[in-house]
Structures are given as C-alpha cells and as structure tokens.
Amino acid sequence: MVPDVNAPIQIKEGKLIQDADRMILNAYDASAVEEALVLKEKHGGEVEVVSVGAAKASETIRKALAMGADKATHITTSGDELFDSGSYARILAAFFSDKEFDILSLGKQSQDTDSGLTGSMVAELLNLPYTTNAVGLEIEDGKLIVKRQGDTGQEMIELPTPCAVTCSNDMNEPRIPNLKGIMASKRKPVEQIEIDDLSMDDSALEANTQVVSYEEKPAREAGKKFEGEADEIAREVAQLLDTEANVL
C-alpha cells in the first residue's frame, strides 16, 4: 500500500500532507501479483498475499484478492510507527521464517519512496537465493527462471526454490479486477495478525533511518516555447543550443 503519487500533495512545516483516502496498491506489487497469477494458471499452486500495514491496507489486500489471489495475511500496524524498509523486512522475515513457500515475490520498490531494499533484505534474513528487478518469470523443472534487467542488458538467472524475487512493472500489465473477481474476493480468507504475534525483539522493529523533513524540490523553470513554422523554429532552437546554451 502506497500513497498515490498523482494525488495532490502539500508540504507544511516539513511534513507531508496527503489525502489519506488516496492509498493504492503499489504498481510494482500489482505486477508481482499479476505474474504470480499467470504462473499459477500455468503451473497450479496457490497465491497468497501478505501486507504489513494499518487498517487501510485491507483495501489493497482486497484488490489483490479481486485480481485472483487465493488468500491473504494482514499483519496490522497502527500506522503511526516510524518503520523503514529494514523494519518491514524484519517483520516479513519473522512472519515467513516458519512458513512454507516456493517463491516469495515482492515489488522492486515502493512507488512513493523508491527505496528498493525490502526484497533483498528479506532474502538475506531468510537466507534465500534471490534476484531483483525481474522483467519476466518462468518456472522450469521446479526452478524459477528470472529475466532480470541489469545496467546494460538483461540476464537470465536460474534460482532453486524456495527463493525470492523482486518485480519490475515492465513485466506485465496487471489485470483490472472484474465484478466477479470483486464479489469472489469478499469470500476469500484474510487472516489478521499483530506484530506482537510474531516472535520478534522490539529492537528489531526500530528503524535506523528516518525522514526528518520534506521539502519542495526546486522546480525547473519552464524555458522558452517556440511555436510557428516548423522549419524556422527548429533552426532557431538549434542555433540557441549552440550560442546560448553552449551544449553543441
């Protein structure tokens, strides 16, 4: 669950003021859910979603169930905690430590913070083989084959199960839940548990990073706009890039 980056945002005295109703399913997580559903359609199995968050997170969990996930666990928080990716990763690792699964699939980053840490943290904490920034997933002979977007090209990586992977939204176009899916989601099991139910030290929840304030990014000033005869304005801008901007 992340705030919608397209919703109006204000900054007041260094704090972010956002419309609490504009929380959405993280785009990268939507892609992770979509890909899990596709793999299930091809190979069978079950898709379970897990979210750590305040009461509001139940809506995004519903969305994943309406897309077709089979069941969900909601690890509830008050929403006032100052958790960072490390805290969430330790909570998720504590939850998964005694669970059986083949593939743990996460988003490559949160759309609001772009942290991109949780996936490989959870993998390390659970000692799982992993890869990040997947743009394609296949299952072959019980192995997960990941097409990963690297710096310059793509890599095909083979992971034994159980393993973890983080998904790019370049992987697929997440399905929009239809009415049938939405109706069905209401009958699907959502287990609610509290962080206290997980055997964790309080110190493991503590964030060692913290946002101290937010500020407007100095906006780029819009420059000159050239309208008119294509031939003329094209040549004029080319000249200015040379004489004024000095970038040619």
């Binding site: 490390g86 772009d114 840490l117 490989s120 090209g153 060692n208 990014k217």
Partner: protein
C-alpha cells in the same frame, strides 16, 4: 577518525564515472571531517584500476579479483563486499546507484546490520550519523533523511557530484577470494541483450529520448540520426520500451534509469511524472511535442511545439551545419 569506503564499479572494462563522483565527494567529506577515504574494487582485473582510483584521493584500495566477477551475480559480490567490510570496518560505505548496487544494497545492509540510504542525491555528516536528500513521490518531493548506526550504507545517483582529482599514494590490499560452485545459490544462464557498444546512459553527455510520438521506422531513423550527430545516447519512454521498439535498458524514468546529461532532447514524450523523475536533472532540456500543453514543456528549457516529423529534419540539418 573513521573510514569512508567507496565502491568502485567497473563496467565494460572501465571505471564508472558515477563511482568516481562518489569517491570525489567522499574525499571532500573525509577532509572536512578528519576521516580517511578508502576504496574497493571487485572485478576480474581489479588491480589494473588502482592507479586511477588513487588519483581521486583514496588512501587505501581493496581489490577482490576473481573471474567470477565478470558478470554481475549477487551471491559472490555480497560475499566479497562482506569480507572487505569486515577488514575495513567502514563507518560509511558509499556506492554509485547502479542496477548492480540496487541488487545488493538491502542484502548487504541486512547482512552487516547496517543502516542504509539508497539512491540519494546528496549526503553529509551529522553529529551522529549522516543526512541525505532523497527524491520521493516520483521525484516530486525531496525527503531529508537521516541514518544512524555504527555502519551506514549509502548509494548516490549519477551526476550528483562533480569529479575532483586529489592524487595520493594508496596502499593496495588484495583480499583473498574463492567461491565454490556449491555456494553459488543462483546460476547465470545467459546474458540476453547487452546493449554492447551503445552509450551508457548514466554517463552520457547528451541523450536523445523517443516517446510514443515516434510512431514508425521513419521516426526512429530521425532519432538515430539526431543521436549520431550529437554523439548522444538513445533513450526511450516506457511507451516505447513496453512496445518493444527500444531495448528496456534504454528506459528513462522511475522504473528505468535516472540520467543527468548536459543535453536531453525529449521527442514525442508527454512528460508523465514517472518519466520526468528520470531526466529532470539534465542540464539543458529540449522538448519536441505537437501538443503545446504537454507537461514536458514545464521542464523544458527549449520547447519546440510541432510535429516531430517536420521539426527534426531541419533541426538535424541545422546542427550538422553548426558542427561543420
């Protein structure tokens, strides 16, 4: 006195400029705060890069050499870096924010119980940690973020700092490394589409980026021609990487790459916030779009309102003339 360790990324047999940017910044911070700056190179021929690293002021350079580092794989890289960290005991370990870095930051932080600030655009010391600026909300807003702890990892966006030479005589420390097949948890089956000799967008001086407005081969040809005369890298919006027109490595934006060239020419790109997130730090932005209200014009220094098929041919011709 603490140690600032800088990771030196090697790509295509060269040191990535963004790593030297980070090293330059670390050197400056170290000098201001009475710390030492050291560097680590993990590569098949790591020791061949130590001379260049010395130029930027590292007093010690750790090298980890093994053929296994030819292609990025997270297991061996993590093992190597953990080993170096145990020896160097850095207070801050700084990286250039590449896909390779993003692949391991979280795991390394968890492994070393370190605090971690990924993808920052600036960082400095505070009394008891470091403070960094991180663009958030699709880079619409800046978050001032603090990290505390005995060890702090940080990765820095390319183009955040200038290169600054500060030659020293560095001690080179080679770290023993070996890895059994059995330890490798994942297997690299193949490299699919290394963009090969195309220009690394993170380091490009100029980029010509194509969007959905570039509809056909004729349009792509114009893009290539323009890129060629400018010696520019070609980038693309998600619309065109998704459609398979351009390689996904060329995508610029929130999901794709964050770039900071001297010149960025956006052609047929509307300027969605997720695209702008990746290019707003370019020095000079030119936009070509037939819609005078396209949001890309809000960030463009030079906005050409017009049909790209009519604008680009005379634009290319004029640049050719200027370049003589």
């Amino acid at each position: 006195m603490s140690t600032l360790l800088t990771h030196i990324a090697i790509s295509d047999g060269k040191i990535k400029r963004s790593s030297l940017e980070v090293l330059s910044h670390c050197k400056q911070l170290a000098d201001q705060n009475g710390h030492t700056v050291e560097a680590v190179i993990v590569a098949p021929e790591a020791s061949s890069f130590t001379d260049e690293v010395q130029k930027y002021g590292a007093s010690k350079v750790y090298t980890v050499e093994d053929p296994i580092f030819k292609n990025h794989m997270n297991t061996p890289v993590l093992k190597a870096l953990a080993k170096v960290m145990e020896q160097a005991n850095p207070y801050v370990f700084a990286f250039a924010s590449t896909e390779g870095t993003k692949d391991i930051m979280g795991a390394l932080a968890a492994n070393q119980q370190a605090a971690v600030l990924p993808d920052v655009s600036a960082f400095k010391f505070t009394d008891d940690g470091i403070q960094a600026k991180r663009p958030v909300m699709a880079a619409k807003i800046m978050a001032n973020t603090e990290a505390k702890g005995d060890t702090i990892l940080v990765s820095v966006r390319s183009g955040s700092y200038d290169l600054n030479e500060s030659p020293t005589e560095a001690e080179v420390v080679n770290i023993d490394f070996s890895m059994d097949e059995g330890e490798l948890k994942a297997t690299l089956r193949e490299i699919i589409s290394a963009s090969g000799d195309t220009i690394d967008l993170n380091e490009a001086e100029a980029i010509v980026a194509a969007g959905r407005g570039v509809k056909d081969e004729e349009g792509q040809k114009l893009i290539s021609e323009l890129a060629e005369i400018l010696n520019a890298g070609i980038g693309a919006s998600r619309a065109l990487t998704e459609a398979g027109v351009y390689d996904p490595s060329l995508q610029i934006g929130q999901t794709g790459k964050v770039v900071s060239p001297q010149l960025y020419i956006a052609v047929g790109i509307s300027g969605a916030i997720q695209h702008v997130a990746g290019m707003a730090n370019s020095k000079v932005i030119v936009a070509v779009n037939k819609d005078a209200d396209a949001p890309i014009f809000d960030v463009a220094d030079y906005g050409i309102v017009g049909d790209l098929y009519k604008v680009l041919p005379p634009f290319i011709e004029e640049i050719k003339k200027i370049k003589g």
